[in-house]
Amino acid sequence: MTGHVDSVKTYALVFAALICLTILTTGVAFIDLGPFSVVVALVIAVCKMLLVALFFMHVRYSTKLTKLVVSGGLLWLGILVLFTLADVVSRGWVGVPGR
C-alpha cells in the first residue's frame, strides 16, 4: 500500500544535486557561449526536471502506465512546438513573401 519508500539520504542527495545544478546554470549564464547558451541552459533544466520527476515524484517506481502518460504528455508538447516552428522557421524559404 505504501509503495517504495526512499531513504532521507537519497532525497537529500537529489536535493543537493538540484541546488548544484541551479548554481551551475546561473554561473554558466555569465559565460558567453554564443548559441550554446540556450542548449546548456535547457539541458541543465531537463536534468533538473528528470531528478524531480524520477525521485520526488516517484516516477522511478511507478507503473508503466504512469511512465507512458508522462512521456506521452511531453511528446504532445513536442508536437505542438515542433510543427508550429516548422512553419515559423520555413516561412520565406520560397523567397516570396507570405508564401
Binding site: V89, S90, R91, G92, W93, V94, G95, V96, P97, G98, R99
Partner: protein, 332 residues
C-alpha cells in the same frame, strides 16, 4: 490556373462519386438482401479478413496520395510568381481594397489587368486579416497586417470577374467586394496611362523620399552615413549579424518601419523609425522608388514593363554584398 484546378476537382469528384456509390449501393443491397426475417434469427459471425482490411486501406490511400501530389504541385506553382510578372500593390482595410499600379494609377475595389500577362499582387492590411479571393481564377490569399503576402495569376480571357474578401473582417465583410477587369493589352495601356496623372508610384516614392529627408543619409554614391539604395532591390545583403537576406519588398518595408531589426554590415544602427509617419501606401511608393533606382536590364522597354529582379554588381555601389548565396531565410 483555373482549368488545372478544375481538372484536379474532376479527379476528386470521380473518386468521391465512386466511393459514395459503392457505400450506398452496398448498404442498400445488404439491407434488403439480409433483412431480418424472424426475431429469433441468429446470423453467423463473419471473421475478419486481414487481406481485406489491408486492401481497403491501401487502395484508398494510394488514391489520396495522387490527390496530395497533384494538389501540392498546383500549390507550389501558385506560390512562385514568374519574374516578368506585372507588379501591383494591394492594401486591404476595413472594408475596402486599395490597389496601386506601378504607373501610379490607383483604384478602390476595382482592378484592371492586361490579358495574357502574369500579374503579381503584393498585399498587406492596415487593420485586421482579410483575404483576396477571385473565384474565377481559383485563387485566394490571406492579407495579414504587419507583413506582405503574395498572389499571382495570369488572366486568359478578357472580362469582368468577382473579387471577394474571404476572411471574416467585421461588420461590412460581405461588402468588401469588387471586380477584376481583364482588358486587352492595348486597352490596358490606354487605361493605365490615363487617369489622374499623379505620376508613377516610383515618382511618388521619390517625392516622399525627399520630403522625409531620406537623402540626407542615403546618398546615391554610398558616401553617406547609410548604405546607398542604388541597385539594392532584389540583391542579397550581408547583415551585421552575419546573416544574409534578400532585399525584397518585405525587407525594405521592415527597414523603413523597423530600421534596427536588420542592419547592413559595416553601418551603425542610427536610422530612426518611420512607423506612424508613413502609411502602408507610402511604404509601397518608397519600395517602388528603391526598385526604380536599379539599372534597367537590357531589353526592358515601355512604361508597362517593370525592371526585372536582377541581382548583380552595380557600379558605384560600396555596400558589402554576397552575390552567390541563395534566397536566405528571412524573419517573416
Amino acid at each position: 490556373m483555373a482549368p488545372q484546378v478544375d481538372h484536379l476537382l474532376y479527379y476528386l469528384l470521380a473518386v468521391a462519386t465512386f466511393f459514395t456509390l459503392l457505400i450506398f449501393v452496398a448498404i442498400f443491397y445488404f439491407a434488403i438482401r439480409y433483412r431480418r426475417r424472424s426475431e429469433k434469427e441468429l446470423p453467423h459471425a463473419v471473421h475478419t479478413g486481414m487481406a481485406l482490411e489491408i486492401v481497403w486501406s491501401v487502395i484508398p490511400f494510394g488514391l489520396t496520395m495522387i490527390m496530395f501530389t497533384w494538389g501540392a504541385d498546383l500549390y507550389f506553382r501558385g506560390s512562385r510568381p514568374p519574374d516578368n510578372a506585372l507588379q501591383i500593390y494591394v492594401v486591404g482595410k476595413q472594408w475596402m481594397w486599395k490597389l496601386q499600379h506601378m504607373e501610379g494609377r490607383r483604384e478602390i475595389n476595382e482592378l484592371h489587368v492586361p490579358l495574357g500577362r502574369p500579374v503579381k499582387l503584393t498585399m498587406t492590411s492596415e487593420d485586421v486579416i482579410h483575404s483576396f479571393f477571385v473565384p474565377d481564377f481559383r485563387m485566394k490569399q490571406d492579407v495579414v497586417p504587419g507583413r506582405y503576402s503574395t498572389l499571382w495569376f495570369q488572366p486568359t480571357k478578357a472580362g469582368k470577374y468577382h473579387l471577394f474578401c474571404a476572411e471574416y473582417c467585421g461588420t461590412n465583410h460581405s461588402r468588401m467586394i469588387g471586380w477584376i477587369y481583364v482588358m486587352e493589352p492595348q486597352d490596358y495601356q490606354t487605361w493605365v496611362s490615363g487617369g489622374s496623372g499623379g505620376g508613377s508610384l516610383a515618382d511618388a516614392g521619390g517625392k516622399l523620399f525627399e520630403s522625409l529627408a531620406c537623402a540626407n543619409c542615403h546618398h546615391p554614391d554610398g558616401s553617406g552615413r547609410c548604405p546607398t539604395l542604388v541597385g539594392l532591390f532584389g540583391r542579397n545583403v550581408l547583415l551585421s549579424t552575419g546573416h544574409v537576406v534578400k532585399a525584397d519588398e518585405a525587407y525594405i518595408r521592415e527597414s523603413i518601419l523597423q530600421p534596427n531589426a536588420k542592419v547592413v554590415a559595416g553601418y551603425q544602427p542610427i536610422m530612426p523609425t518611420f512607423q506612424g509617419l508613413v502609411t502602408e501606401e507610402g511604404v509601397v511608393q518608397l519600395i517602388e522608388y528603391v526598385r526604380s533606382l536599379n539599372p534597367k536590364p537590357v531589353g526592358a522597354e515601355g512604361s508597362g514593363q517593370m525592371p526585372a529582379l536582377t541581382p548583380g554588381v552595380v557600379p558605384g555601389s560600396q555596400r558589402p554584398r554576397v552575390g552567390t548565396a541563395g534566397p536566405a531565410p528571412k524573419e517573416r
